[in-house]
Symmetry: C2
Subunit: 326 residues, 2 copies
């Protein structure tokens, strides 16, 4: 049997069972956005993610600077999804020995920019040679209390931050543009749509900023970051919590820019909102909680349903990005 026949979710589930054990001080191991360890100071939260050329990014339209920034955001997003604060970063960088030294410099300039945004410090890692560009990062954070994927209760409202699908729409646009847009230095490229429409979308794909959970974490009962797609990540949260969900399609926040670009792209907004890489937070909280996030549905006893604008109910498919799926 091949890995793509097993699928990412089953592989992770297998690891979780294989390595499940009670360890003094370990609060949460494999299977959430980050691991949680108890320390004398409170809770230490740690995550590690990898990004591979031609799987996670395409150097035909991504600058090294954007890549560095995004690698940090992706990892910080996992720390934020636990309701924690990031502090320290380790970066492993692999590239071909013939790579231009400017690529290396710009990659670490992007890292530096992200350090400022997230108030992080780079403290270590590795620099090695490789055929392709492969990157991994680990972030260590802390929290007094963490919010896991477990904990959603029947009747809780389901919230998302920001707007869904912009990153996916930005990716579709970059595939059309097919060359780097140096958004970090002001844009000089010719773009196929108005700047006001296209820039927020491609920026969300190329240099996403992770969503700080400070205002949500105190009331959240369960939380996850949307990395692989709104529905697949909702599915994960519900499975961990042992509950179901009803989602109101019309309530899913979609930007005006996405609507405009989807017409140009000839793609349905419905497809774009399941595309993943949103790096927004998806969380549950009791009704009438006060914060700046959008309520898209509620937790049910079981089942995953989506209700359209006519009030018709459909089964929700856990669509999104999965490594190793055929």
């Amino acid at each position: 049997m091949k890995l793509f026949e097993v699928g990412e979710l089953s592989l992770v589930e297998k690891l979780r069972k294989k390595f499940k054990k009670n360890v003094p001080g370990l609060i949460l191991g494999i299977g959430d956005d980050a691991a949680v360890i108890r320390s004398a100071d409170g809770l230490t939260v740690i995550t590690s993610d990898m990004m591979v050329q031609d799987v996670h990014f395409n150097l035909s339209w991504t600058t090294a600077y954007q890549l560095g920034f995004k690698l940090v955001s992706v990892n910080v997003s996992d720390i934020y999804a636990m309701g924690a604060r990031p502090h320290f970063l380790l970066i492993n960088f692999a590239a071909h020995k013939d790579t231009d030294a400017a690529f290396f410099d710009q990659f670490y300039d992007g890292i530096e920019e992200a350090l400022h945004v997230y108030n992080l410090s780079l403290i270590g890692g590795d620099v090695v040679s490789s055929d392709h560009v492969v990157l991994s990062a680990s972030v260590i954070g802390s929290a007094i209390h963490t919010v896991s994927r477990k904990g959603a209760r029947i009747g809780d409202k389901i919230y998302v931050t920001g707007q869904i699908g912009d990153a996916s729409c930005g990716l579709a646009l970059m595939k059309k543009i097919g060359m780097p847009v140096v958004i970090e230095k002001g844009i000089e490229s010719k773009l196929p749509l108005e700047k006001d429409i296209i820039v927020p979308l491609i920026k969300r794909h190329l240099m996403p900023e992770a969503r700080n959970p400070e205002q949500y974490a105190p009331s959240a009962t369960a939380m996850i970051d949307i990395s692989d797609g709104l529905f697949i990540d909702l599915f994960r949260l519900c499975r961990e919590s042992g509950v179901g969900a009803n989602i109101y399609k019309e309530r899913i926040p979609v930007s005006q820019e996405l609507i405009a670009a989807s017409q140009y792209l000839g793609m349905s907004p419905d497809t774009l909102i399941t595309g993943g890489e949103d790096y927004e937070l998806l969380f549950t909280a009791p009704e009438n909680s006060a914060f700046d996030a959008c309520c898209i549905g509620e937790i049910a006893k079981s089942g995953m349903k989506i209700i359209d604008k006519k009030g018709k109910t459909h089964n929700l498919e856990a669509r999104g990005y999965r490594h190793f799926d055929a």
Copy 2:
């Protein structure tokens, strides 16, 4: 300018300067075997390393099990080199989606074996698709006091644990054998030399065990693990400590197995001892310290010298493995 024209040491030095800053709680950042953070419990020690197919390992003669075991050892060795104890492990695994699922299982069986050996827990990581096998690991450990690369004083003796060059000799043998030797299950392959000679050597390359520093750390003034080669790592320790070294060539511990195999290979033992991947500890300590390690020289004011058996002094070259070197 290309990365190979800059060289690994300059790249790391560049990062160290770029990201040097005073951060509350950060004792040691980029440039040692691991980073050190102060916590209420004592010191938290953290490291991350990457291993890339066809750069760090060759799947023509390495089993997935051996790879899993070695990935953990390489990272634990960095924690040990700080005089610290490893506790928690995160693994990032990337492989082609057509990879056999058994490869995945055996890789994590090798990880599991290493968890037992080092008393570690796997708490997280990532599983992604990629053209080649790329692995990275992060290990979090703790210590009351750490031993850095700085701290060697003039007159200190220089020690190494174990025997030097066995791993490099094992690699040369595996290149000749050209197919996996399943040492983890008892050996059935035909080997070109007697089992007693060949097995310890190839095992040191395929499944090295990191050296526990417990008996050395209390007296050590500076310490590093030998990953890229005895001399290049000695050079790093001396540069950090701002000192020189005199090494007595005859005192470098070399195994009988290496001597026998070097004749078969037609390679000089001198070449093999600079080959790297020893994962032994190289450290300095005051004279007359009592432990089971081999004194190979002493710290001098400056210069890196090697004294041969006739008493002749030569300049020591910092030979060993460097990524991105031409």
